[in-house]
């Protein structure tokens, strides 16, 4: 993160003053609901946002579905989630936010070691809650607008482009998909709306320039991306640095529509603090000859359940999920991906790399379904797990269903430990055991890290180095 800022300073893109004043004054109203969820709360959220009636109806239907659905019986242990002890809408002001003293020591230390500027530290730790990127990133926005690209908060998008929302919202992930998708649909707030017109290629990774933006980090984000024919966009969200939040539930929904010959890459790095349940539904519809790539990195949280999926709807469509999970002490990362082959000549690829440290547990959960009519399709799944300590755990839950004999499905899985011979070799060059382990681990995840924007990759490697300190016996 810091590198990016420095880079831009050099290019004159961002002046010191702009950065200094990049924080806007807090908005002058305070809205805080009571804890707990009810029909009233849902109505209030919709009213506050001035939403069209159809969205309110949509929310209310979703609320009923949420109530009727039971909790998932598989995946991580969600017993401790108390839906009545959660704020469903919160627009915090600095008055309500934490003080720096309340932020846990280890998180502060990590910030320092990663070299994150104080201003960003404040934001990430929840000490500052507003960070208006408009001033800082205004020129990038202008460039996008000139191309006809829409990129804004989902709340704003709904009000400005109701027709687009009516057409697409909830079509990829209907409320009834699962309990948490229903919850999100009922109470969603924030998230990003991206619309890329026909033939437009957005060269710079979108969110990389906007990645500090209060509107995009929220509990119940809702993101909608539409890539018209022959377009391209690379969307990056999240943060390698730990995001400290006292909210215990993060439940987002991401819907993506990739039209004929278009290509979308969606990159996420999440590093929620270890009290957070991170339960996210992500799905893309990929039409004829289009390409959808998910790059999904999960480092933080208490329990993550996330399986980015691609529905290959048109012939020749390609789907890819590159999943990276790091399960530290007490963490459970239940991640993977899902491919539904629904047209001929479609292909999918899954690469999953997980690391378990201490009592951490990383589970791969994947599903590949090839429909009867999806002739000559192929799917390849590769999942590799690395265990750091004796009590670390990994498991694999692959589900494969192939309904025609002209299609091929491959699955490979491996579990490994940090290799003693590699350790000896690297240490014989003067590296400590921790340095050598970190190097082996960063090598293990390199196939995924190399796809990340540079500053994310650098931070991720540094983070792993920090995680390894004092952890290798």
């Amino acid at each position: 993160m810091s590198q990016k800022i420095k880079e831009k300073k050099k290019s004159g893109f961002m002046e010191d003053t702009a950065y200094q004043y990049g924080f806007s004054d807090p908005e002058d109203y305070v809205i805080k609901f009571k804890k707990g969820l009810s029909k009233k709360v849902v109505e209030k959220i919709s009213k506050l946002k001035n939403e069209p009636t159809w969205m309110l109806q949509n929310r209310l239907r979703a609320y009923d579905i949420f109530l009727s659905k039971s909790m998932p019986k598989w995946g991580g242990n969600l017993d401790d989630i108390d839906f009545n002890n959660i704020y469903y809408y919160l627009k915090p002001t600095p008055k309500e936010s934490k003080t720096w003293e309340e932020v846990p020591k280890n998180i502060k230390k990590t910030f320092d070691r990663l070299g994150i500027p104080k201003a960003e530290q404040d934001y990430l730790a929840g000490v500052k809650t507003q960070y208006d990127s408009e001033l800082v990133y205004g020129s990038v926005k202008k460039e996008l607008e000139d191309k006809g690209v829409i990129f804004m908060g989902t709340d704003e998008g709904l009000l400005k482009y109701p027709e687009i929302f009516k057409q697409y919202f909830g079509t990829v992930i209907p409320s009834a998909d699962n309990k948490f998708a229903a919850l999100n649909t009922a109470v969603w707030s924030g998230g990003s709306f991206v619309y890329v017109p026909k033939g437009v290629k957005v060269d710079l990774p979108l969110q990389a320039y906007f990645r500090i933006n209060a509107k995009n980090i929220g509990q119940f984000e809702r993101t909608l991306i539409i890539a018209e024919e022959n377009s391209f966009v690379n969307y990056v969200e999240g943060c390698t640095a730990p995001v400290y939040t006292s909210d215990s539930l993060h439940s987002a929904v991401v819907e993506i529509i990739v039209k004929k010959n278009a290509r979308v890459r969606y990159t996420t790095i999440q590093n929620w603090s270890s009290n957070v349940y991170n339960l996210v539904t992500k799905r893309a519809f990929a039409y004829e000859n289009s390409v959808m790539e998910w790059v999904d990195g999960n480092i933080g949280s208490k329990v993550t359940m996330k399986y980015p999926s691609v529905y290959l709807m048109g012939k020749g469509a390609k789907g890819e999920v590159l999943s990276l999970a790091y399960a530290g002490d007490g963490q459970h990362q239940d991640t993977g991906g899902k491919f539904m082959h629904l047209a001929p000549n479609t292909s999918s690829k899954m690469i999953s790399k997980s690391i378990s440290k201490g009592s951490g547990r990383a589970s791969y959960r994947g599903m590949v379904k090839i429909a009867k009519n999806a002739r000559n399709s192929k799917s390849n799944v590769e999942c590799d797990a690395l265990l750091i300590n004796k009590n670390s755990r990994t498991d694999t839950y692959p589900f494969i269903k192939n309904d025609n004999n002209s299609s091929k499905v491959g699955h490979e899985a491996s579990v490994s430990k940090v290799d003693d011979e590699q350790l000896f070799y690297l240490m014989s060059r003067g590296l400590t055991k921790e340095q050598a382990s970190a190097l082996i681990i960063s090598g293990f995840i390199e196939p995924i890290v190399k796809l990340l924007p540079m500053e994310y990759a650098a931070e991720l490697n540094k983070l792993i180095e920090l995680e390894m300190e004092g952890s290798v016996g």
């Binding site: 014989s428 060059r429 055991k433 050598a436 090598g443 293990f444």
Partner: protein
């Protein structure tokens, strides 16, 4: 100066070395020869600090400091280097990044990637290590010869005080052997490093010109002398050498 005194070593509870004493002065080259299983590699691993090896008796002094209880990384930091007989592949670790890391770590300094690349390219050129190798993952998919050359490239980056070459010559063709041996000799002259070279063949010794040749058999040095010992071995084999 490296001094090994009455070194007894076990591996997997098996006695391998039974009292080795050796003194290698600054800038000297000592060759260590001997039949398979005589303990040559075990000696190299004992000196460099392999955790698989247990020293049951004796001492290893590097510059008068007993290093036998130090971890392998601490020994490296004191200036010890081993060129591995079988260099290990480390997938996903770009060689450039690795070499920069060990350089900065050894000399306790920071260097810009551009500056380091210049420094590295100069060394790589001398060792005929192709530039694209530097941008690949550490040893991954390298040919046997490339791996051995890269060991010496690492040596040239770390500028050790003392090096052990564990059968660095095996698997090298004649021209590569010459390049590698000359590389070692150049570093030795630059830094006055002491060298132990473990080998089965006298060819590498033609280039490295050892001051002493030792013959190891059943965990003991059974003969020491000049280059003539190696020449004699080449003719008569190890059978003729007895303790």
């Amino acid at each position: 100066m490296l001094v090994i005194k009455d070194l007894h070593v076990s591996r997997d509870n098996k006695k391998i070395l039974r009292g080795i004493s050796l003194k290698v002065n600054k800038g000297e080259v000592h060759a260590l020869m001997g039949p398979n299983g005589s303990g040559k590699s075990t000696l190299a691993n004992a000196v460099s600090g392999s955790p698989l090896i247990k020293i049951t008796k004796g001492s290893i002094l590097l510059n008068d400091k007993n290093i036998k209880n130090l971890d392998v990384d601490a020994r490296s930091k004191l200036g010890l280097f081993m060129a591995f007989q079988y260099p290990v592949e480390v997938s996903g670790v770009p060689m450039l990044q690795f070499l920069k890391l060990i350089y900065e770590n050894k000399f306790n300094t920071k260097i810009t990637p551009g500056k380091f690349l210049m420094l590295l390219n100069a060394e790589a050129e001398k060792l005929h290590v192709s530039k694209d190798l530097i941008h690949r993952y550490l040893n991954e998919g390298f040919s046997g010869g490339e791996k051995k050359k890269v060991e010496i490239l690492q040596m040239s980056v770390l500028k050790p005080y003392f090096s052990i070459l564990d059968e660095t010559d095996s698997g090298l063709d004649i021209s590569s052997l010459k390049i590698v041996a000359n590389g070692v000799d150049r570093i030795r002259r630059e830094t006055e490093m002491g060298v132990i070279v473990i080998t089965h063949y006298s060819r590498i010794l033609d280039y490295l010109k050892p001051d002493y040749v030792h013959v190891l058999k059943n965990g003991k040095i059974v003969k020491s002398g000049g280059l003539d010992v190696a020449e004699e071995l080449e003719k008569t084999g190890y059978e003729a050498v007895s303790s």
